[in-house]
Symmetry: C2
Subunit: 456 residues, 2 copies
């Protein structure tokens, strides 16, 4: 075996031609979405006013293990993929660990993250369906940027409801989205009924993803030829993101790499789900025994401190009910929380896998995350996104455990993106003004109080 290069790039011909649907591999399926009006599982018809037709089919598909990637989407992927699987030789050396550390780096496109993988697929299907405009929400801004890039490519109109506090922390994210032709509205806004209601109840709120989703959905359902698209949480988004895991797995097979641990940050779960799905399929079939770790912020700890319950996907309580780990759709992360990973819930698929013991979860504090981020930047060169740095933190912790024990474990983590639009957070860390926040049980209870009072 030749020495493993710093960066493994697959050939175009080795890129995946199908997405991996993890649900058919699962011993038990996640609970179906519930239509709160009927109390019954959502049908395709229920979802049709909100989502694109083909995406609904993917959302509800629990039988096909592989779903073809349209050729146009494959062609677009080739503009910025395959992404490299990087051997973190310098990080290993700096940590003096016997562990072998790899990261799958999704930050080499302008959106700065993996979000483009699903954005282009969703816009492709919307275009094919004859739609003319889309709405969405964005928090940290990666999703809004990715979607504006995809909409620019297909000439589709886009309105982005951007969480107000993020828009103010990251004014240039707005400029990028506008450069690609997207329209940005700070959420909560007065442009929607639900926004006006939230503002009346919480004047001065910094907003949340849950609010922004409610606003974007309201506009989508009241505009002709318009649909709503989402950048995480949903099954079809995880599906699209499996290009990450598939490329990683192909690279591992090509270079005889056998991961012991795979680590990903988890907000809504799309990156983690996409990274682990092909490996999880092997675990579920008894072919491997990889440990998967979801890393979430201590300030928004849906897996580690949330409830596994049916909840709304948005603050306005307009979505179907999803059985997931949730802090309650009324939960608002503390304003000192930097970056994304601020959603109150977690992908139904990952929630189920976590609930059934197939995934571990860890919550980490913000200053520890930025310590890891800065250390990584100085040794590996790349300035990581705050979100991705949650995974770096735990990868370093695991590598240091190996140093203690002498074990030569192979660790792979997802470096979902770059921190180029997160400099205000880095500045706060450099200046020593960054603080941590761990919600008290009372704080969490206020979120849980917003959970629906029904059960199914």
């Amino acid at each position: 075996m030749a020495k493993i290069p710093y960066k493994i790039y697959l050939e175009e011909s080795e890129m995946p031609k199908q997405w991996v649907n993890i649900r058919p591999y699962m011993k038990e399926l996640p609970e179906p979405f519930i239509n709160p009006a009927t109390g019954q599982p959502c049908t395709a018809e229920d979802l049709e006013p909100v989502f694109c037709h083909e995406l609904i089919k993917q959302e509800l598909n629990v039988t096909d293990k592989l779903i073809d990637i349209p050729e146009e989407v494959q062609a677009f992927y080739k503009m910025y993929r395959p992404s490299p699987l990087v051997r973190a030789y310098n990080l290993e050396k700096a940590l003096d660990t016997p562990a072998k550390i790899y990261y799958k780096f999704e930050g080499t496109n302008t959106s700065g993250s993996h979000k483009l993988n699903s954005a282009i697929a969703q816009v492709y299907y919307a275009k094919k369906q004859g739609l003319t405009s889309l709405t969405t929400e964005t928090g940290a801004g990666q999703w809004g940027t990715a979607l504006s890039m995809a909409c620019a490519f297909y000439g589709m109109d886009l309105t982005v409801y951007m969480v107000k506090v993020s828009a103010e922390q990251k004014p240039y994210r707005k400029s990028v989205i506008e450069t690609y032709g997207g329209k940005v509205i700070k959420s909560p806004s007065t442009t929607t009924q639900v926004g006006r209601k939230i503002l009346a109840e919480n004047p001065g709120t910094g907003g949340s993803l849950g609010c922004a989703i409610s606003e974007a959905m309201e506009v989508a359902t009241h505009t002709p030829n318009c649909r709503y698209v989402l950048g995480s949480v949903l099954n079809h988004v995880l599906l699209h993101q499996t290009v990450i895991g598939q490329e990683t797995k192909t690279a591992c097979e090509k270079y005889d790499i056998h991961p012991d641990i795979i680590i990903g940050c988890a907000g809504g779960g799309s990156n983690l789900g996409g990274l682990i799905s092909p490996f999880m399929a092997d675990n579920l079939e008894g072919k491997s025994d990889i440990k998967f770790i979801a890393v979430e912020p201590a300030s928004c700890p849906s897996l580690t401190r949330g409830k596994y319950a049916f909840d709304f996907g948005d603050t306005g309580k307009t979505t179907p009910l999803i059985k997931m780990y949730t802090l309650g759709s009324g939960f608002m992360p503390s304003p000192n929380h930097a970056g994304g990973l601020r959603y109150h819930g977690m992908s139904a698929i990952l929630s189920k896998l976590y609930h059934d013991g197939y995934i571990d979860a860890v919550a980490v504090e913000q200053t520890k995350v930025f310590e890891a981020a800065t250390f990584f930047a100085k040794t590996e060169g790349t300035l990581p996104a705050p979100e991705s740095s949650h995974a770096i933190r735990v990868a370093i912790d695991e590598a240091l455990k190996c140093k203690e024990s002498g074990e030569e474990k192979t660790i792979i983590f997802g470096l979902t993106g770059t921190g180029y639009f997160d400099l205000s957070a880095y500045k706060a860390f450099n200046d020593g003004t960054m603080t941590d926040y761990i919600p008290t049980d009372e704080d969490l209870q206020r979120g849980f109080d917003t959970l629906p009072k029904v059960d199914f």
Copy 2:
């Protein structure tokens, strides 16, 4: 021949192990630097107080066609290189041109540009020499970021004099540099004699690269174990940047690509010089007949409207005299000029090649550049740096000429970096508030009046 992929990535084993020194290939050498105190060509001893020993040797080396890249530098290159040679299939389609367009994309590292190629080499030699700190200047910020990354890697202290107007246009550039441990001082500053003098003469000036160089050199020569390093213009910087051209040439040979035109933006000339050197060597040996085009901003037109004369490299008139195309060391670009490419002079090597007819030059206006940049972003995905977008502008113009003539020319341009820290300029363009500036003959005359009154 297989279809050319969107992105050609070389193997690590195909990366260059030597830099290409173009001077031994030239029919006539550039004039040597002159020591203004003696009126004689600079010796190594003259330069020793300012520059690292090994870099001086490279600076003065006009005989060795190839210079070994130290193994440690090769290893660092592998962290972020090889960079892709991208076939701009989507741009070709959008322009409906028979031309084949490629770009060598240097923006996939955190500095956002090619500057890291020389930064790491310079810091390596400084470390090897036992130095403990470095000073430099930065304009648009790519060089300062690249150098702070390299200094973080080698544990070297760094002070960056950043052109004041750039520091204010790009506050986050400062935060990136600080995250990597660099100290940023806005130039002109009161921390140096030359800075105080410039401030006294021009209170309220936005600064210039020439000022910042003077300040950084003053500190370097007055601090023990400290040297000054520069990110462009000098011969050794062009030398390091030849990794760009060599990778491009290897990719061309591998895929049977024969460029008719190679285009690069030109500020100090390091990117253009690095990109074209290996191809220029072939042209000079009669093996090829490629057309090279240097693209500069109409607002800082050193090649197209400057004088070929001996001039100082800095505003404080403390450097050796360099025979180059120059607008005069006192020339200050208009404050409406966005991004880099604001240096008053041009690499001595490129100046000589241009003077002798081996390179063409074109000056383009800012709004036309941003039109091209936005078009490129929407079709090829990547948001380009304003500097790089000068090359995009001319590549598009050349491709449109092919559309007229039906010629199937092969065009390669250097996409030196990304525009992620240039969003204020994009915002101005989106808002319609961006303006153009073409200096009048009188404006230029004020710069020429600062040229030394001597000749050698």
